[in-house]
Each structure stands twice: as structure tokens, then as C-alpha cells.
């Protein structure tokens, strides 16, 4: 088990500001913050190695990242594109399910659906199943890309169990979990 040293307060504050303004699912948000935290730390270390004090190095790193609100907004916008894809598939599944139930359970509904939309109960069921499987597959694919091995928990710490090595806890946000 290893723990990183406490992060400079300015860097911590910057990450908290991004966290507070980033509109994304919790796990995705924490993943983004973990990546930004690593980059900020490295940038600050490099600045320090160039002769700046710890506080100056952190300030320069924060300056390089720019306005936390703008960064959170830009990141959120990019992340929402994937959300729209999932939303469309969820919408299809949510529309197909009650229509299928109506067609199966309520007399006359299937005939009406066929007359108006050329949709049979079997076709609705197929649409529903395909939409749900596609949604599941896309989410799994995205998750596998991001979380290839082990267990990651971004509730202020990253916990990873990788291969045969013992679990490691890496502190990302000092002692305080992100909001």
C-alpha cells in the first residue's frame, strides 16, 4: 500500500472547483479528476524542478490549466455526446416496451399499431431487445476501455487490484473526497 504526499492547497482547490462544476456521472467525473490530478501534480513538480517554490509551481500549473469553470464546461460538453447516444437507445427501449405490452395485453392495440405504424408485437419486442442489448454492449465496451483490469473506486481514493500485486490505495484528494 502506498500513499502520495498531500497535494498543494492551490491544486486541491482547483480540482475541487472542477469537480463542483463538472456535469457527468459520478464515476466518470471521478475518473476525469484523477487524470487531471495526475497531470497537475506532474506539471507542478516540473515547475518546482525548474526552480520555483512549491506555491509558485502550483500556481503556474493551475494557470496552465486555465479557468476551472471553462474546463469543466468543455469536458462536460464532450462527455454529454456519449450520453446522447445512450439517451437515444434508452428512449427507443422506453417507447417500445409499453407499446409491446399494450399490443400483447390490450385487445385491438396490435391491430391499431399495425394499421398506423406497421408495427407488430414481435417487431416491437425485437426493437426493445436490440436497443437494450446495444445499450448494454456500448456501456460495457466503454467501461472496458476505461477500466480494463482490477477494481477502481474513485470516492476520493483509487483502489486497484491488478494482476498478482497487492491492492494499492492512491490518495487523490488529500483526506477529503471530491464533492
Amino acid at each position: 500500500m502506498s500513499t502520495t504526499p498531500p497535494r498543494e492547497a492551490q491544486l486541491e482547490r482547483y480540482l475541487q472547483e472542477v469537480a463542483g462544476r463538472l456535469s457527468a456521472p459520478p464515476r466518470r467525473r471521478d475518473e476525469e479528476l484523477a487524470e487531471l490530478a495526475q497531470h497537475l501534480d506532474e506539471l507542478a513538480s516540473r515547475n518546482e524542478a525548474r526552480g520555483l517554490s512549491r506555491a509558485e509551481a502550483a500556481a503556474a500549473a493551475v494557470e496552465a490549466f486555465g479557468d476551472p469553470g471553462a474546463l469543466a464546461q468543455d469536458l462536460g460538453r464532450a462527455l454529454r455526446r456519449a450520453g446522447r447516444r445512450d439517451g437515444a437507445l434508452q428512449g427507443i427501449a422506453m417507447a417500445a416496451t409499453p407499446l409491446w405490452l399494450g399490443a400483447v395485453l390490450v385487445p385491438g392495440v396490435e391491430a391499431w399499431l399495425w394499421r398506423t405504424l406497421r408495427l407488430s408485437a414481435d417487431l416491437l419486442l425485437a426493437i426493445d431487445v436490440v436497443a437494450l442489448f446495444a445499450l448494454r454492449w456500448l456501456r460495457d465496451r466503454d467501461d472496458l476501455r476505461r477500466w480494463p483490469r482490477g477494481v477502481y473506486a474513485f470516492d476520493g481514493t483509487v483502489e486497484r487490484h491488478v494482476d498478482e500485486r497487492p491492492p494499492q490505495i492512491v490518495t487523490l484528494f488529500g483526506n477529503e473526497p471530491p464533492r
Binding site: 484523477a34 487531471l36 495526475q38 490549466f65 486555465g66 476505461r146 477502481y152 492512491v170
Partner: protein
Amino acid sequence: MTDATPLGRDEVRLLVLHVLTRGASHGYAIARAVELQSDDALRMGEGTLYPVLRALEQDELVTSEWETADSGPARKVYRITTAGRAELARRLRDWKSRVAALGSVLGLEPLAGRKGGLNHA
């Protein structure tokens, strides 16, 4: 901290794809590679880099994966895809023709088949 020229989103997109043709890399290394190669003349603002990386991922031009080394924390590593290489080739063609056209107008470099451009002299 430096007087480096900040890059726009399109330029960052092009440079990220280019850096990744040399191999998988993480965000910090991508930014540093651009600074190093340009002799600190260009600076890839980190505030632009990550939204661009997300957009490239959404467009399936790059993929990312958290990877672990023997020591240190897990890192998110990016790789260019086949579609990303094709996109880079297309953007490079566009970029070259744009630079050639600008050079011709500014009298810096004549377009092929022309005798010269506008000269300030």
C-alpha cells in the same frame, strides 16, 4: 511562465493525433512532446487538451485505457486508431495546402505552377 504561443482547438487536435502516431502516451506526455519538439515555441494549454482528447475519443479517433506500471499510480494512456490515422492524413493534406496557399499570397513560397506570389517589396 513562458511566452509560448497558445494553440487553438483544431491545432491541438492535429498535434495530439500526430504525437500519438509515435506510440501510446498520456496527457502530460502529449503536452510535453509538443513543447519539446517546438523548442518551447508552442504550448498546448491543458485546459484545451483534455476536452480535445474526449472529443477524439467520442469520434473513435483515439482510445484510452488505464494502465499500471510496476510503480506509481495507474495512468490513462491514449492510442490512435486506424480512423485516427486516416483523419490525421486528411488534416495534414488540408494543412499543407492551406500553408502553401498562405505562403503564396504572402510571397513566402510560390504555389506549384506559379511564378511567384504577392511581394511586400
